[in-house]
């Protein structure tokens, strides 16, 4: 064996030592304390599962990013892509007949295939929680509040939660034929107003709200203005966000920005969805939302809402 095969590590892998390890441990401990006090039970699923578990939960997008290998009997395994899939599997089997709601939490590494170019990490530390079996506003509020508490426990001050609702754009997008819908989603995702407007020239009237709704971003007033102008299909989602806003305390609201332009995960989320942004980090440090279709894919339909935070991103934020 050549020496280089033991001195180098694969792209996207990382050796952590000293303060880098201590900082992650401290963050993890502080956040798990918050989760435990909030009544969430820690669950430690396996590091690898049959790949079907992750594909079933996350669909085609996830299938592209699994790190797979072959078991002795020829079945395909995958390293843990996320915790939510495993939580759903356990909730649908072992806890199938237990009391509801279920409050589960986790901490550990997830593994994702990244494009070769960037040298992005393929292993990331996460802490997160799932609230299963409760589909009302109170559950959404609980998870949003929990996310804010976790951010505080991580020592963050300058952070914001960008919160949207999958229902707001769904009606308009459904009115488009498949090809145009893919284009429109891409322009919304890139925030390219000009290309979006040109694409929508061919769109039916029911999609007209897509001109403006994706660019609504702001506090409660922005939502109220959008709700006044929005078509019926979008209004239920906006009303839900307004009700959530009303349920929060002023110091919690200070961290919330309503943002109706996020189309990623729109095939996954069924209600609220959010991302955590922290000054000093170039990408989201956490994400969550409601995915009421998830448990049905594991044979036990029930509402589900959750959050996961990226401990590596949080640990690397300059103090």
């Amino acid at each position: 064996m050549s020496l280089s095969s033991i001195t180098s590590i694969p792209p996207g892998a990382l050796d952590l030592t000293g303060d880098a390890v201590r900082r992650r441990r401290a963050l993890q401990r502080a956040m798990m304390d918050v989760l435990e006090r909030a009544g969430f039970e820690e669950l430690s699923p396996p590091t690898f599962e049959y790949e079907e578990v992750f594909r079933r939960a996350g669909g085609a997008e996830v299938a592209e990013k699994l790190i797979r290998f072959v078991d002795r009997d020829g079945r395909i395994l995958a390293l843990r892509y996320d915790f939510t899939s495993s939580m759903a599997r356990v909730a649908a089997t072992r806890f199938a007949d237990g009391p509801r709601p279920l409050r589960l939490c986790y901490a550990g590494a997830v593994f994702r295939q990244e494009p070769e170019r960037g040298g992005r990490p393929r292993e990331t530390l996460q802490v997160g929680a799932e609230l299963l079996g409760q589909g009302d506003l109170a559950a959404d509020v609980e998870v949003v509040r929990l996310t804010l508490a976790l951010a505080k426990a991580a020592g963050l001050q300058d952070f914001q939660l960008n919160l949207g609702h999958a229902g707001v754009l769904a009606g308009g997008l459904a009115a488009l034929d498949e090809n145009l819908r893919a284009d429109v989603r891409r322009w919304i995702d890139r925030k390219d107003r000009g290309s979006l407007a040109r694409a929508l020239e061919r769109a039916p009237a029911a999609a007209r709200a897509l001109h403006e709704l994706p660019f609504v971003i702001g506090r409660r007033e922005a939502l109220e203005a959008a709700a006044r102008a929005a078509p019926g299909a979008a209004r239920a989602g906006l009303e839900h966000l307004l009700a959530l806003d009303a349920a929060l305390q002023p110091e919690e609201r200070a961290h919330l920005v309503y943002d109706l332009g996020e189309v990623r995960g729109l095939d996954y989320y069924t209600g609220i969805h959010f991302e955590l942004f922290v000054a000093g980090a170039g990408r989201a440090a956490g994400a969550g939302g409601r995915y009421d279709d998830l448990m049905g894919r594991f044979g036990r339909p029930m509402p589900a809402v959750g959050v996961s935070l990226d401990l590596d991103t949080l640990a690397e934020i300059p103090a």
Binding site: R190, K191, D192, R193, V257, D259, E275, F277, G282, A284
Partner: protein, 208 residues
């Protein structure tokens, strides 16, 4: 005060990009020269000048909040950035070109075509999409001489007027991508520095 850092590409897009920001009331304060960060007439905006393929790298990572990049570089790198505004300059095409007398789209005798390019990913995707197997040779410059030197049968490269191609005895065969300059933005900056972002974008849009 929220400060926005804008990455500008060296080379053909630099002057038109500077001119476009000037029309928006944002003037670079110094000649780039050796300075890394260049202040502007707007104290909230500073510039840095990097090689074109590095613009999406700076912006995706958040080292720069905004940038100017060609869609050729963006599609080749697959950078995960916002592309809020087409700038209406830097128009060109990414094309397949071959010597005027070369057979196309297949070579006789079952020879697998070698294609020299600075855009291996876009070239591979293009030939894959048409089910035509090729070998891609990645080069960093002087792509148009590759067929003359027997490095490759064909090339995939940017064409503006076509003068360079003609001078090297090459003809365009297919267009892979229509290219122009766009504004790119970091996804987190757009959210964390929303007001400053909307202000700059608004000024760029209204002074086209």
């Amino acid at each position: 005060m929220t400060r926005l850092r804008v990455a500008l590409p060296k080379g053909r897009l630099y002057e038109p990009a500077v001119a476009r920001f000037r029309r928006a009331g944002i003037e670079l304060r110094a000649d780039p020269g050796r300075r890394l960060l260049i202040p502007s007439s707007d104290p909230r905006i500073e510039f840095l000048v990097v090689k074109p393929p590095d613009v999406p790298v700076y912006v995706e990572s958040g080292a720069a909040d905004l940038g100017v990049a060609g869609t050729d570089v963006l599609r080749e790198t697959g950078a995960d950035v916002l592309e809020p505004l087409e700038l209406g300059f830097g128009f060109c095409r990414l094309v397949v070109a071959t010597p005027a007398d070369a057979p196309y789209p297949t070579l006789p005798g079952g020879v697998t075509p070698r294609v020299a390019t600075k855009y291996p990913r876009l070239a591979r995707e293009h030939f894959n999409a048409h089910g035509r197997p090729v070998d891609i040779v990645r080069v960093d410059g002087s792509v148009e001489v590759a067929p003359l030197l027997n490095l490759a049968h064909w090339i995939v490269d940017l064409v503006d007027t076509g003068g360079t191609l003609r001078a090297n005895g090459l003809v365009e065969r297919e267009t892979i991508l229509e290219v122009q300059a766009v504004v790119v933005a970091n996804r987190a900056s757009q959210k964390l520095k929303l007001e400053a972002y909307l202000d700059v974008m608004g000024r760029l849009e209204t002074t086209a």
